[in-house]
């Protein structure tokens, strides 16, 4: 049952991801991404990680997705115009390299799994338990937690700074950049 569920969900996730890439309408892309996020959340659940499941749904499928859709609609950029692709020859090369990357990554994880079982760290014991995870975040991983706070502060400042400038000077034509 679990295996069946896994394959179905994984297939949905893959389809969502590929469809998002090839879709020509930005809103469609976003919706396919949502599909992918949802499937991923189910995969987390299959891995018995309820906490990640919730986070995935609320943060990614919820907050971030809504933001994406807002931006797309505000810009009115649902449709992508076709611009001549000057470096079209790179496309097959890119696909080839992507497949290669996938192969290397798969080989690494398959071979790694074939060896002795992974030792597993402190998370293995109670993986996915929100309470345990929270406790770890405030004890052992206190420092990364704090640093993340600073990073977020910086990001917020950055958004404000760049946005403010754009507003101030938007009317004036920028000087020729070259």
């Amino acid at each position: 049952m679990d295996v069946l569920l896994f394959f179905v969900t994984a297939a949905v996730a893959l389809v969502g991801a590929i469809a998002m890439l090839v879709s020509r309408n930005a809103v469609h892309s976003a919706l396919f991404l949502l599909l992918n996020f949802g499937a991923m959340a189910v995969l987390y659940l299959l891995l018995q990680s309820p906490f990640l499941f919730t986070i995935q749904l609320t943060v990614y499928a919820g907050a971030i997705m809504v933001l994406f859709l807002f931006v797309v609609m505000l810009l009115g950029a649902e449709q992508v115009e076709d611009t001549p692709d000057r470096i079209a020859w790179q496309r097959p090369l890119g696909i080839l390299l992507g497949v290669g990357l996938l192969g290397v990554a798969a080989a690494a994880s398959l071979r790694g799994a074939a060896g002795q079982p992974a030792p597993g760290g402190e998370a293995a014991a109670s993986f996915g338990n929100p309470a345990e995870l929270g406790a770890l975040l405030f004890t052992r991983y206190l420092l990364p937690f704090e640093i993340t706070g600073v990073i977020l502060l910086v990001a917020v400042v950055g958004v404000v700074v760049l946005n403010q400038r754009g507003r101030q000077q938007a009317p004036a034509k920028p000087p020729a950049g070259d």
Partner: protein, 651 residues
């Protein structure tokens, strides 16, 4: 003689002071020239005092080491910022400051009225400083400091008249070719440090601790029994071969001599100072200094010998076929440097230094003389446009004649004695092939000097578009002084067992362990007869056929030699070969790299912006626009390579 410890610092620091003042303070021509000349003259006086002090010491303790401060000090790696004065350095310092001072004074007249003359004197002072560090450094790193410094000054001075395209190109060429030698030099330093653990030439005592010198550790290192038996020889060969490459760059030896003839685009006093008397001899000096290292490797020694002999011959033939008065001298310089290098290869280091000193005197004289000719004929350098100048420029003519005779090796001028010592050495050591090559070259030398004198000073003036005049006193007095030096320089090392004979050999004996060369009367007679004969022949051919030398025309000898003459004129097409096989492929590679890896650098930016606008308008798909994708592609290739490597080597 404690005063020598600080006195010798004045020798390089006085010109340095002149340089700094000329860069930052002095703005007018006259004070700049006087200051620069005064500083070098001061350095010469100090050097004389210091050498007299040095001579007062017993022979075995004639080595003054003076450490300014500990330059590098990290664990085993100790390098002092120190200079020294020993017999070898002493003669070099006297040559550099003495000839240097004369050329500075000469420059006051020669460069008069040039708009950037303050800069000229600043560069010249910096050059003297660096050259002094080169010959005075008590370790390889200081030597290298000077080595790079003189290269830089040479570069700046070759390109001094940068409005002339040829000057700027010649400067770059000199620099690039020299870099090859410099890279080899750095590698040699790394190898010396790795093998000997020090870069000092000799033991230095600093703060009661003796820092070893590699030249004195050679027997001890090479005598060790660790490792395979061929290892010491391999080490010595590797290091000395790298040093040899360094020397071929700086001393313009085959196959790196191509920069020196072009370097004549610089002002003539510069050619005299840097490209004849001092800088180009740095390679010879360096080989003499590290003589004991070269002696350990027979392989390198034979390379040195062959490179020197071949360079002498190739450049000698090229000098015969030149029309530019300075290019004749330039090829002649390369040829004479070949003599010195060949002497080093034979182990005749005293002979090499002897020839270096006499050559410094008479070649400086010849260059300054040619400068006087160029000055007096209003920037004429083509000998086809000269002729008959001996009446208009008597002082220049007579001094030039002395220099030419000295170079040709006419008894009893300086060049005869030094060249003969090298030939005698080749004879007594049985280096027959090289002896023959060098002998032929000395015949060629006499011939092209006879040709030059005839073309410039004899016959009728072939081009009347200028009015030739003698140069002023400030230029002719240095010529006279140098002429005296070129005439009497041979007295330094007369090959006879009379009082004062072998003076240079004895003086250098503590540094260069070499028995004085044997005087061979037959060889000397043969060489003299050959020199006189060929010199006269050259003179005779070109005075007799003076009427057939036309402005822009071919040489009278061209009729008989044809293609060979063309080959000689182009120095056997070495330059063309470099352009074809090195420069062109390198350009192509650079262009290829630029196209593949840096499309933005050429025309990409505009396109990038165009794509960017479509992104702003078009929204989300911008991430696929333009070059980011290319970058990510290359990135992915890198990822695949790195991870692929890891996976291949794991199970």
């Amino acid at each position: 003689m404690a005063y020598l410890n600080w006195l010798i610092w004045l020798i390089p620091l006085l010109p340095l002071l002149g340089f700094l003042l000329n860069v930052f303070v002095v703005r007018r021509e006259r004070p700049a020239g006087l200051l620069a000349s005064g500083m070098v003259l001061g350095a010469f006086v100090v050097a004389v005092v210091a050498v007299i002090g040095l001579a007062g010491l017993p022979a075995e303790s004639r080595r003054i080491m003076s450490t300014g401060w500990q330059w590098i000090s990290t664990g085993a790696f100790q390098v002092p910022f120190g200079i020294m004065l020993d017999p070898l350095t002493a003669v070099m310092v006297l040559l550099v400051t003495g000839v240097g001072a004369l050329i500075h004074i000469y420059s006051i007249g020669y460069m008069h009225g040039d708009p950037r003359v303050v800069r000229y004197f600043a560069y010249l002072n910096l050059f003297i400083t660096m050259m002094l560090f080169l010959v005075m450094g008590n370790n390889l790193l200081i030597l290298f400091l000077g080595w790079e410094g003189v290269g830089l000054c040479s570069f700046l001075l070759i390109g001094y008249w940068f409005e002339r395209r040829s000057a700027a190109e010649a400067a770059v060429k000199a620099f690039v070719v020299n870099r090859i030698g410099d890279a080899a030099f750095i590698l040699a330093m790394l190898a010396i440090f790795a093998s000997f653990g020090t870069l000092n030439f000799y033991d230095v005592e600093i703060g009661g601790v003796i820092q070893p010198g590699f030249l004195e550790r050679i027997p001890e290192i090479l005598g060790r029994t660790v490792g395979p038996s061929w290892q010491p020889i391999a080490v010595a060969t590797g290091i000395s071969f790298l040093l040899l490459i360094g020397a071929t760059g700086k001393s313009a030896q085959f196959p790196l001599f191509v920069w020196l003839p072009d370097a004549m685009a610089g002002p003539t006093p510069v050619s005299a100072l840097i490209h004849a008397a001092t800088m180009v001899t740095a390679g010879v000096y360096m080989m003499a200094r590290t003589e004991s290292l070269f002696q350990e490797s027979l392989a390198t020694q034979s390379w040195v010998l062959w490179i020197g002999a071949l360079t002498a011959l190739i450049a000698g033939t090229a000098a015969v076929a030149q029309w530019d008065i300075k290019r004749v001298l330039a090829y002649s310089t390369v040829s004479q440097l070949g003599f010195m290098v060949a002497a080093c290869g034979m182990g005749a280091y005293v002979a090499a230094i002897f020839h270096l000193l006499t050559h410094g005197l008479f070649k400086a004289l010849l260059f300054l003389g040619s400068g006087s000719v160029i000055h007096g004929t209003h920037d004429t350098q083509d000998m086809r446009r000269m002729g008959g100048l001996r009446t208009a420029m008597p002082t220049t003519f007579w001094t030039y004649l002395v220099g030419a005779a000295a170079l040709a090796g006419i008894v009893p001028l300086a060049g005869f004695w030094s060249k003969d010592e090298i030939l005698a050495h080749a004879l007594s050591h049985g280096n027959w092939p090289q002896l023959i090559i060098l002998f032929l070259t000395s015949l060629l030398t006499a011939f092209y000097m006879g040709r030059q004198v005839a073309l410039v000073f004899y016959g009728e003036q072939r081009d009347h578009s200028y009015h030739a005049h003698e140069s002023g006193r400030v230029m002719t007095v240095p010529l006279l002084i140098l002429a005296v030096g070129a005439a009497l320089g041979g007295l330094m090392n007369l090959p006879f067992s009379i009082p004062g004979g072998h003076w240079l050999s004895d003086w250098l004996n503590p540094v260069l362990h070499e028995e004085p060369g044997e005087f061979n009367l037959a060889l000397a007679l043969l060489a003299t007869a050959g020199a006189v004969g060929m010199g006269y022949l050259g003179w005779w051919v070109y005075t007799r056929n003076a009427a057939r030398v036309k402005v822009g025309g071919k040489d009278p000898a061209y009729r008989y030699t044809g293609d060979i003459w063309d080959g000689m004129e182009e120095a056997w097409y070495l330059d063309a070969a470099y352009n074809r096989f090195v420069v062109a492929p390198f350009r192509a590679l650079g262009g290829f790299l630029a196209r593949v890896f840096d499309p933005q650098g050429i025309d990409g930016l505009v396109m990038g912006i165009g794509r960017f606008f479509t992104w702003v308008g078009g929204g989300v798909r911008g991430l696929q626009s333009g070059y980011v994708r290319t970058y990510a592609l290359v990135f992915t290739v890198g990822v695949l390579l790195v991870l692929g490597f890891v996976l291949i080597f794991t199970r």
